[in-house]
Amino acid sequence: MEETSGSMEKQALAGVKVLDFGWALVGSLTSKQLADHGAQVVHVESITRVDLSRANRMTSMSSATNPDDKPWFTHLNTSKLGICLNLKCAPSRSVIERLVRWADVVNANMVPGAMGRLGFGYDQISAIKPDIIMAEGSAYGQTGPMAHEWGVDGTGGALSGYVDLTGWPDRGPVGPNVPYGDVVLPFLIATAIVAALDYKRRTGKGQYIDASMLEVCAHQITPALFNWEANGHLQTRNGNRIAYAAPHGVFPCRGDDRWCAIGVFTDEEWGAFCRAIGDPPWTKEQRFATLNSRKDNEDALEALVAEWTKKHRAEEVMRIMQTAGVPAGVVQTMQDIMENDPQLKEREFLVQLKHPVIGVFGHPTPPYKLLKTRAQVKTSPCLGEHTEYVCTQLLGMSDEEFITLWQQGIFR
């Protein structure tokens, strides 16, 4: 089993150098996008302040003491080099300064102000290297009354209106057991960084990028903002229903907690749906003849659809619907995703990589495929795995100097 996916072909971001103070989700996932596409990313960590995902014991194989037995950390930090450096230890400053001179990009997502207190805010970093590109992600942004407040994934979701719109009309809001704000923000920051690299190539100018989870999340509810501002309609939770499709919902299937999602958007799809379930008499009723009438009788419609879906396995419902040209999809579990999904399998979305401590397991690949310069996902670094390599090979430190710094205790 390999430690790298794909062969050693050319990579889109080959030659780009990133100094990475990212941690938790936002920072880790931002630099991961760059690393998986060939940028050389030096991820700075410290044993005195381990990453959230190095401490999280979500699986039983993860111990309280070993920072390297966390598969979640590995997912978030593929393809990076890892250096262990105690930023609060004064002599570490000279190493960071050299890394800044080496780097094209500095990536961070500490609480606003924290980088400055460590001596590595944008003013300090750009004084060392004026054309640096530095990006900082945060919950609220670097300025404004809430800037210094701490936030997690749901903070952006809650304040942006996303959570309020999710759930059933007769109940309170709910949220999925997966992140949103924490995983959408890194795509925007990485987009900004790569665009800034091209801007620098053309103009010679660096860039400081300030990205807020709240601000990125609020974009997606713009139609609801307009609906309030211009029409006076305050949208709220509406289950699985949407105004422009019916039936549009999640229907029970044979088996324990098995479901299939179905969405009928056009008249053509409604005709196909009716034929696919064998044209039962109710499908000819006037109350279901048009989208508007189906919307008016949606409770009855959904009950009738469920009577049919209940008799079939979710996979059969999807196959029957899709064969007929009706959008449908099994409500898949993680087991379905990892074991039974022929699409993800053929596209090699999960690659099996070998980690020196954890062993072989599946890693998601970037969900946007550059077909000529494919992502090459490598396993994540163990804590401090590349400290010596980075210092002596990338920064050109002599062995003597490295050992002296080691003895001063900065590499921990």
Binding site: H37, N56, M58, T59, W72, E149, V152, L159, S160, D164, T166, G167, G172, P173, V174, V178, V184, F187, L188, T191, A195, D198, Y199, R201, Q207, Y208, I209, D210, E215, V216, Q220, A224, L225, F226, N227, W228, A230, N231, H233, L234, G239, N240, A243, Y244, H248, A261, P327, M334, I337, M338, P342, Q343, E346, R347, F349, F361, P366, P367, Y368, T373
Partner: protein, 413 residues
């Protein structure tokens, strides 16, 4: 006016609702983005809500939201003259964004390989439900279907009801962010080497990539994390993250260890100050507090006390007093509340854009991020159908009035 990051590049945007935010992100970065719509307009212009509730392709608030700063030309890609015109446009373009069923553009002679013969530097970004290849490649999809097939939907909703979708089109939006990222990475490579390529984005894969922590819990422990309403399960620990308050709801993640310590301590103090019964007081070291070490019953006692506490306060109190006390809560804003949020206002997040044809003005989010050297802003309302036909076809491509009239009569533009 300052530059934008990608000023001077051009995109042709053929997408429907699945891909419109990708072009919006690129246009906010300064890419001149031309929506190429079929005569009559992009079918996504039929998506409600509409201004004043009347269906009209020029009044879809959904469409207006995600097509800012774009130009619009109409073009029938199924007519051979339309295909010729499109190839001419591709000669001068840097990007093509599209969201058709895989194979459709190939059938018109406009697939990636064909376009690369016209312009080898072109980057074609394709945003589809399941990606370009594979047994489901031609399956139909949507926000809901992608959520179902990704494992996200199974984790959302009340246990006694079917799994429920996220309210906004969150998967479309994040897929478009992924597509924008793939596009600029391919762009960087193209500018360095001259080589163009296709970027293949699958809505399903974009959504699966959110489930990382659940993937490892299945792979290593064969546990499935299911929907559990307001309870968030991270690995083995399940605690309440959404709470009802006097006049709405709040987000306050009950978390152990260092991550939750400051907020937990501050909340416990506030419960005390309210004079309510406070079982949280028994915790002496929040930094070391581990949910695995307390019983289910004890956790219930804690969460019942927290529930009573939040019901004692309004959203405004939790936002203002909670901020002062640093409990790390966030109120669950309605769309109306979002417009009033003081943080967004302080950062000049909103911009009013005029819609003279509609006799109104609308308030838009202005940026995706801020830069110190460039302005990457939403500046201009979405285009009317074919608003830029004259500019592109006549002024830029040099078609004569007669030719344009003939194309119109043939239903090409």
């Amino acid at each position: 006016m300052a530059d934008s990051l990608l000023s001077g590049f051009r995109a042709l945007d053929l997408t429907d609702e699945k891909g419109s935010a990708c072009g919006k992100i690129l246009s906010s970065l300064g890419v001149e983005t031309i929506k190429v719509e079929k005569p009559g307009g992009d079918p996504a212009r039929a998506i409600p809500p509409f201004l004043n509730d009347g269906p009209d392709p020029e009044k879809s608030l959904h469409w207006l939201a995600f097509n800012t700063d774009k130009k619009s030309v109409t073009l029938n890609l199924e007519a051979s003259q339309g295909q010729d015109l499109f190839r001419k446009l591709v000669e001068e373009a840097d990007f093509v964004l599209e969201s058709f069923t895989p194979g459709y553009l190939d059938s018109l002679g406009l697939g990636y390989e064909a376009l690369a013969r016209v312009n080898p530097r072109i980057i074609v970004t394709s945003i589809t439900p399941f990606g370009q290849k594979g047994p489901y490649a031609k399956y139909k999809g949507s926000e809901l279907i992608a959520s179902a097939m990704s494992g996200v939907l199974a984790t959302n909703g009340d246990p006694d009801r079917p799994p429920v979708r996220e309210g906004p089109d969150s998967i479309y939006f994040r897929s478009d962010a992924a597509a924008a990222l793939g596009t600029v990475i391919a762009h960087y490579h193209r500018q360095m080497t001259g080589e163009g390529q296709q970027v293949d984005v699958s809505l399903q894969e974009v959504a699966v990539s959110r489930t990382s922590s659940n993937l490892v819990v299945w792979e290593f422990d064969k546990q499935l994390i299911k929907r559990n309403a307001t309870i968030r399960t991270v690995g083995a620990r399940a605690t309440q993250w959404l709470w009802q308050c006097k006049d709405g709801y709040v987000f306050w993640p009950y978390m152990g260890g260092k991550g939750g310590a400051r907020g937990n301590r501050a909340l416990s103090q506030w419960i005390d100050d309210d004079g309510l019964e406070n079982p949280l007081k028994k915790v002496t070291n929040w930094e070391e507090f581990d949910f695995a070490a307390i019983s289910r019953e004890e956790l219930d006692v804690h969460q019942n006390a927290i529930r009573k506490f939040f019901m004692n306060h309004t959203k405004k109190e939790i936002a203002e007093e909670g901020f002062r006390r640093k409990i790390n809560a966030a109120v669950i804003n309605s769309p109306a509340d979002v417009l009033e949020n003081p943080q967004l206002r302080a950062r000049s997040y909103w911009v009013d854009l005029e819609h003279p044809e509609l006799g109104t003005r609308l308030t838009y989010p202005k940026h995706f991020f801020l830069c110190n050297q460039t302005e990457n802003f939403v500046r201009q309302r979405a285009p009317l159908i074919g608003e830029d036909n004259e500019e592109i076809y006549a002024k830029e491509m040099g078609l004569s009035g007669t030719e344009i009239t003939a194309l119109k009569q043939a239903g090409v533009i």
